[in-house]
Amino acid sequence: MPRLYTEQLSVGYGERVIVDRLTVHIPDEKITTIIGPNGCGKSTLLKAMTRIIRHQEGAVILDGKQISQEHTKLLAQKMAILPQTPESPGGLTVGELVSYGRFPYQKGFGRLTKRDYEVIDWALEVTGTIDFKHRSVDSLSGGQRQRVWIAMALAQETNIIFLDEPTTYLDMAHQLEVLELLQRLNHEQKRTIVMVLHDLNQAARFADYMIAMKDGKIVQAGTCEQVMTPDVLRHVFHIDAEIGRDPRTNKPMCITYHLIKGDAKHVEKTNDVHSSFVRPHLECVR
């Protein structure tokens, strides 16, 4: 059993069911990416797993305990979350913001201890934001700001880090910068990372484990090779994709794709062609 999993988890707003009786296991010390079309419930799943929204049925289990019955401060020592568009009050400096990551460990008036300062500096160092320590968060570029938010999550010193589309609004270089930082954290410190990503190729490239969702249910979960298949992509995104190999990382990637039009028969046919095109799978998990 992994440390974190859900059991028959259902989340909805009023009558509308967003996540439908979903059971998913998050492998420890691996990078997991969740993919799926807009409105498939991937963000909602992430929010429910991190107690940001309440679920209606089922349970999220962390270390053998339901998170809904755990003290929220204790949870914050075990898992950190970087939401989609975090906001900070105007004029706050980078160092101050990152110091808020120490909140779960603070008592009383919230004075920072020597150890708190060490962790904050370490988080700034790792994310390459130490030079901005005394600058205002508003004055940073999108990529720098995202790294600062990651630094704040790191200051929480949690084993599990959730990120909801951490690369949105960033250009290609900054996207890679953020994802490579997360990969390094995973490799060097064995942190479990769970993130929602929009870009399929990035999702496959950085993930050890992938979850493809549609209409609040999981279509396929497993290694990149198991998830990045024409079948799965056709079903989940309604696209007709050709899957090849990234020559550098040897991860599966969408080489070309287009929207599926016409009747189901046609879809079946193209699928057959592509199945034979895919080369034998290699184990994705290193």
């Binding site: 707003y13 940001i52 949870l75 706050l92 005394h134």
Partner: protein, 336 residues
Amino acid sequence: MIVPQLRKKQRIILLALLMFICMTAIISMGTGYSSLSFERLMPVLLGEGTFKEQFVLFSIRLPRIAITLLAGMALALSGAILQVIMRNDLADPGVVGINAGAGVAVALFFLFIPIQATSFAYIIPLVAFCGALLTAILIYALSYNKQTGLQPIRLVLIGIGCATAFSGFMIVLVSGADRTKVDFIAKWLAGGIWGMDWAFVLALLPWLMTLVPFVLYKAHRLNVLQLSDPVAIGIGLSLDRERLALLLTAVALAASAVSVTGGIAFVGLMAPHIARALVGPRNELSLPVAMLMGGALLLLADTIGRNLIEPDGLPAGVLVSLIGAPYFVYLLWKKK
């Protein structure tokens, strides 16, 4: 993680505000309808004045100064909390219907319940306090959603709606009433400091003495509340519980102030705003500044207003707006 220079700057600002308050208080002691000149201040303070001088200073001016200061502090602190909880720089105690609620309660009480003049002055604050508290509870109950908890934007909208409804109700109440009674209510609403007795100081002081340390204790939680909800939850803040506790604190602070001073709106909006502009968004730094700023503002407004038109003076609430509005316009202009 606060830069030492900023801490130093905050200390200097606090010191400057204290000096300003002392100066204003001295000016306030030496001016007014009854004659008590500045040269006589020292002797009277040392107990060498005539009976009349003693009476003017100790029973009229000093309690008034104390009440104004305390009320200004309470309003500023309340406004600072509400601006954080509602994530809205334009929030102030008026937004959660405290002024309107207290106003309706006072109007209803004054118009329909016959009481004797002697006990009247001491019952009004109690009535205003209950009115404010009930309104805040009503607004909270209406804006609480079982699924999503307390949404700041809902709180603001319902608060403004209730405040407007109560103001309308008050016009209906007042329109049919007797002229002298209407005069009193209108004056109360405009925020003329009218509780001018040590008894009112004693009514106000316990609130401040318990709630100010409590709010300062909560300062770092207020910091976290300034972040967006998911971030605050993610770092382990019990959002609903903290919000409710702080909302009740803000209501109690503002209601206790409004109950002795009448409806004063601008202080709670302006003082926290100026404080943040001076020392940044960290609450452990900005709250003390906001508090002193609020006290200083209201004291200044009352001192000026009291001496402008003899013998009744201009209500402090009106004066605060006259002093505060230009600064606020300047702030907005600077932001662009």
